[in-house]
Amino acid sequence: MTTTQERALPAVEAAEVPLVERVLPPPGGGRLATVAARSLPVVPIVGAVLAWHLLTWYDVIAWVRFDKIPGPLDVYHSLGAQLGTAEFRQHVVSSLRRILSGFVLAGLVGVVVGIGIGRSKAVAALLRPLIEIARPIPAIALVPLAILLFPTSEQGIVFITFFAAVFPVTVATIHAMKTLPLVWMDAASTLGAKRRQVLFHIVLPGAMPAIFSGLSVSMGVAWICVISAEMISGQFGVGYWTWMSYSLLDYAGVVAGMLTIGAMGFTTSWLIERLGRRVNRWLPGEAR
């Protein structure tokens, strides 16, 4: 584990360099100061791993107990062993499939419903109350219902993910409808744009920044729900695998599962971020 982190770090660091240098005082401190500044992000990570290693190595018991907690080396070996197996890859793939199905569905429904509510009083009157009633229910509370409703646990998990992810996108889209500058609509209609053309050429692209911030929130809650649902009712998936490791007293496996989930969450969020930057590169704050 330590090595994977250390290997990943230089890349992150390199991307950050211009920022760090801008923060730095101008030359004078010279090379030493630059090296110090560049190593700043590494220090806490290395420190945390070191503390983890020492606490577990010496089985420290001081109110919290580290005697059963696997150390970084155990986790590293467990992760190394698991990553090579087809079974583990199968778990990763099945989690990814669930999250993508639920998330894509939520994105589409959220945008369509959000635009409908934001632009039509009738649709707002029709759907807003239902949404406000359903929204506060944590998606994970729907697990028993999902088990009863759907023939397979697979569909149930996708449903729960969808339920969790749909509201952030919907709400973000509704707000976007209210903040679109009217002059864009006015300009389009004096140029002869019809309602439909205004929707596709003005409203949708103009709402993309808000939609993407909704999507990144959705991605976060979607992961929480997929993993929790898998732990409760799954037959595959990283959440299921992590919980099984716990049941089998394979604690290093539990942490390896956690880290895998973290890595997948990071990757999907990063992809959304990248896509959002590309779509919204026209924003004043985005370099081209």
Binding site: S189, T190, L191, G192, H201, M208, W282, R288
Partner: protein, 265 residues
């Protein structure tokens, strides 16, 4: 300037505001009776908040007309019409489209086939002197350049009446002068009817055939001043320019009304 340059499709249409009234929720915003000749440049001048922009918005179909009738080329119109395109003061460009793609948007709305749009858009951008910036996003352009793109985009709609709502109001003096020259050269090629809202007396006298001075809200026609020598490059040096400028300023409440014979229409 030669009459041969005037094409029938581009030539301006007459505009007739027949005792129109435009209402805001809290009362009348404007009550205007005005006829504009085809190809004429009419400047609407009035104190800020008097409702001069509202008159343009009503003509563009963005604001309902409560009473009376607005007709363009003899046809009473209601709802947004492409033959009455508008240049706005603020950034009305679509920020996610490059200059060229903004112009292409207007061409698409006019129904120009996709394969012809790029060439036409580039020609229009060339007319406003922006060829090197065709592929720039609005955020990468200066205020003056953005207004040039807006002008090109509006011309792409081939309007017979060009509505301009303080289009140069946010620009610095030099850029504003350049834009005024550009507008005149475009107008000389196309002879579009222009209704132009401004609060700048000098700008009004430099560009107009006639200056319509409006009262505070609700906007009514206070006086129509026919410019002695419209768009004469040396106009500012003539005593007539100073006299008319003083007359208009007096109507707007700055200084004394000169006691010369009025140029009422």
């Amino acid at each position: 300037m030669s009459p041969a340059a005037i094409t029938t499709t581009d030539a301006g249409a007459p505009v007739d505001l027949d005792h129109i009234r435009i209402d805001y929720p809290d009362g009348p915003a404007a009550e205007v009776d005005l006829r504009v000749e085809p190809g004429e440049i009419v400047m609407l001048l009035g104190p800020s908040g008097c409702g001069k922009s509202t008159i343009l918005r009503a003509l563009a179909g963005l604001q309902p007309i409560a009473a009376g009738a607005a007709s363009i080329d003899g046809l009473v119109h209601n709802g947004p019409e492409a033959h009455c395109a508008m240049v706005f003061q603020e950034d009305a460009l679509l920020p996610w489209r490059t200059a060229r793609r903004n112009v292409e948007f207007a061409l698409a709305m006019r129904g120009v086939p996709r394969r012809e749009r790029k060439q036409l858009a580039l020609e229009l951008l060339d007319q406003v002197g922006l060829t090197p910036f065709a592929d720039h996003l609005p955020k990468e352009l200066s205020g003056g350049m953005r207004q040039r793109v807006q002008l090109a985009r509006t011309l792409a709609a081939e309007p017979r009446v060009l509505l301009m709502d303080e289009p140069f109001g946010a620009l610095d003096a030099q850029t504003r002068l350049d834009m005024q020259r550009l507008l005149i050269s475009v107008w000389q090629q196309r002879r579009t009817t222009v209704l132009f809202v401004t609060h700048d007396v000098e700008e009004a006298l430099l560009l107009a055939d006639r200056v319509v001075v409006l009262t505070p809200r609700p906007a009514r026609v206070a006086r129509i001043v026919a410019v002695a020598r419209p768009r004469d490059p040396d106009a500012q040096l003539q005593p007539e320019f100073a006299r008319q400028s003083k007359e208009i300023l007096a109507l707007l409440g700055h200084g004394q009304l000169p006691s010369t014979e009025d140029l009422k229409d």
